[in-house]
Symmetry: none
């Protein structure tokens, strides 16, 4: 028996006035998700704990069964892993942006006009960059999507306890990285990062690609902004804990990275973009195709969260419909006596406020021998009436693995 | 957005035979609390954990978001704080009673005839008392209500690990304080406390106020009984954790003390007595008046608990009606788009047994964008059907702070 877990990122919501005090999940037509709820067991889940808004990284770690309070060490390393870079223990990794700055290092555009073409070439010019005062440090830099890149600093005595250089808004200067604790490692790493900022800026400023961009009236990508320093947590892989093969199907680098960090495979699905245009049916097909090879497949859809962050109710409803179609495809193309289908969110994202909130998310699990309850549709309030009650994110993997006979008894 | 949290102390109950197997909350007419339940999200809450009867002090600590298993160090310091005394780290504080004893130190009346007049003067005679063998120890003593007082021992190397001198019933001798662990501090503190018992008795015995009482046929207040040694926990203030201003409106010293210890302000509301006669409408008015200045206001009503301790069903119902009127005043006089109203108890108190029990208490939260469920009235059994499910006391503050946008995301 196998499990497909569908995570609609930030799909859960708070009631919205324009929807007559209902949530998007309550008003959107979701026949396939409702079928899972109606024929399954349901509940609500606090990824971290009641009232605590989870980040995307910590939420996925806990849903995969890990305690983020014990193992979480920043986001950057997951992003780098998800971008296809190898991240070794001790590496400090960042999320980076190509940006446009003026001579005073004031940020004019945090995304360098959402640069697409040429970003890869600029990244290549910085990959392997030598930082003269720190010859023992290796810089690894890879362009991911548009203006985004992953940056790894590799070498001895580095620390993730350094602040962002990204000011997080334009019209502010690039920040100096500062140590966030009293260790010599943090101080040393902040010096390295600040040297990188200056050195990379000089190289980018003179790069022919930027001369070309200027001549076309485009903003030059003449600086790198860094944020979210992280170290890869060393954990016992999920595949080892449960003796399973596990796969993630996702567009966004972060989700692949988190799953990779706990031993899951990831594949690139053409059309799985991590944004509104994502081809959710292609993801469903890929999950079905790979099912014979895996015990556990996590299918992640990002757009539901993005829509709420953009406070775009129409897009949120459209993305929920996409998730529902994906679930529909899975229901049609998997054996109900063999495959468990579970649906949840990693956290609530409020379309009103545009922020993650600490409200619990609905969870529904359909499959052989689950204790079917009386819940009729998949929503925040309906699932709260279900037989699972209120669980924690860290309960979900044990519950799913127990259903497929992969759990480990404690005691005799 | 702001929160008013109403705590009906021991308001939750067990079903009672004379009420046809219903609880006081189920049979009492509570239109305003029912309105909160009907238009809000509901659940049940274990302040500490299922089946664990909380004390008033530990229950309030956990409801304010602290883990009492980690920080609780006795009740005395909260009482002293709530009585308006400054309690410093290292101080050991007790709850005290003026009592009447005979020459053999046998307690004739634990409350010295519920002394009112003169108690303040007697307390003054003991405040600053010198304990000859312990010149480095300062005694701070303040009369609070009737026969009650707060006593602080201040100085180096004190420990709260000493037993009560209060025998807790009459016709028993005053107890010798005994060390409750093997530390030299506990042994030393027990000697100090026992010396205080003897020395204070001599001063009180000879005090003119007691000669006057005897001449009037009143019991002399000629000894101090100590109980509940406590040290103030050093915690990060709630105001700092959430970046809020917080106020408690309560009659009882303990509740003010607990709230003060976590950084909350308290005010004295005329008529808020902490007993059956308390003017609950004055408390509601005070909460409304102070709302512009505070993000979080806790309104505490003690009488519901006292009624159960007295096994007085009529008074319990009367006090529940008072709480409902208080809630009604708040509903009428606050902006529903701005103010969250939450109602709960700190613990269940059984009117049958007169004791705190470990049953969960109902909780209802009304306010903008809460996930309204189908619960129609505020009671132990109705709220158990609600969308919050079963939460812990320590979940309540994170949930409330998340609703008003004051929560802190964990992860990115």
């Amino acid at each position: 028996m196998r499990v497909i877990l569908i995570i609609g990122d930030g799909m859960a919501d708070r009631p919205i006035k324009e929807l007559g005090g209902k949530t998007p999940l309550q008003v959107t037509s979701t026949p396939s998700m409702d079928e899972v709820a109606r024929t399954g067991v349901n509940g609500v889940m606090d990824s971290i704990a009641p009232g605590i808004p989870p980040g995307s990284d910590t939420a996925h770690l806990t849903i995969l069964g890990y305690d983020p309070y014990k193992i979480y060490e920043g986001r950057g390393a997951f992003e780098a892993l998800g971008a296809g870079l190898k991240v070794k223990p001790g590496d400090v990794a960042f999320r980076g942006n190509f940006a446009t700055v003026d001579d005073s290092l004031t940020v004019l555009d945090r995304r360098a006009g959402r640069i697409r073409e040429g970003a890869e070439e600029l990244a290549e010019a910085l990959n392997g960059l030598k930082l003269d005062p720190f010859p023992e440090v290796q810089v690894i830099l890879k362009n991911t999507v548009e203006h985004r890149c992953a940056v790894i600093f590799r070498g001895p005595h580095l620390s993730r306890m350094v602040s962002d250089t990204d000011p997080h808004e334009s019209d502010h200067k690039i920040n100096e990285a500062k140590p966030l604790d009293d260790s010599s490692e943090a101080l040393r790493t902040s010096s390295i990062v600040n040297f990188f900022t200056r050195n990379s800026r000089m190289i980018l400023e003179k790069h022919p690609m930027n001369a070309e961009r200027r001549s076309k009236g485009l903003l030059p990508a003449n600086a790198i902004l860094l944020r979210g320093a992280g170290v890869i947590p060393e954990v016992r892989p999920i595949t080892d804990i449960y003796g399973i093969k596990a796969l993630v199907v996702a567009g966004g680098a972060l989700y692949k990275g988190v799953c990779n960090s706990v031993g899951m495979d990831s594949i690139n699905v053409p059309g799985a973009t991590g944004n509104y245009a994502t081809d959710s049916e292609a993801k469903a097909k890929s999950a079905v195709e790979n099912l014979p090879k895996y015990d556990f497949i996590l299918v992640h859809i990002k757009g539901t969260d993005s829509a709420s962050h953009d406070s775009d109710l129409g897009k949120k409803i459209m993305m929920i419909e996409k998730v529902d179609k994906l679930v529909g495809h899975l229901l049609k193309n998997t054996d109900p006596d063999e495959v468990f289908i579970a649906i949840t969110s990693d956290h609530t994202t409020s379309t009103d406020s545009g922020e993650h909130t600490g409200d619990p998310v609905p969870v529904s699990i359909k499959g052989p021998n689950v204790r079917v309850d009386s819940v009729q549709s998949y929503s925040e309030t309906d699932c709260a009436q279900g037989g699972l009650g209120r669980i924690r994110g860290s309960d979900l993997m044990p519950i799913l693995m127990d259903l497929v006979g992969k759990s480990i008894m404690f005691g005799e």
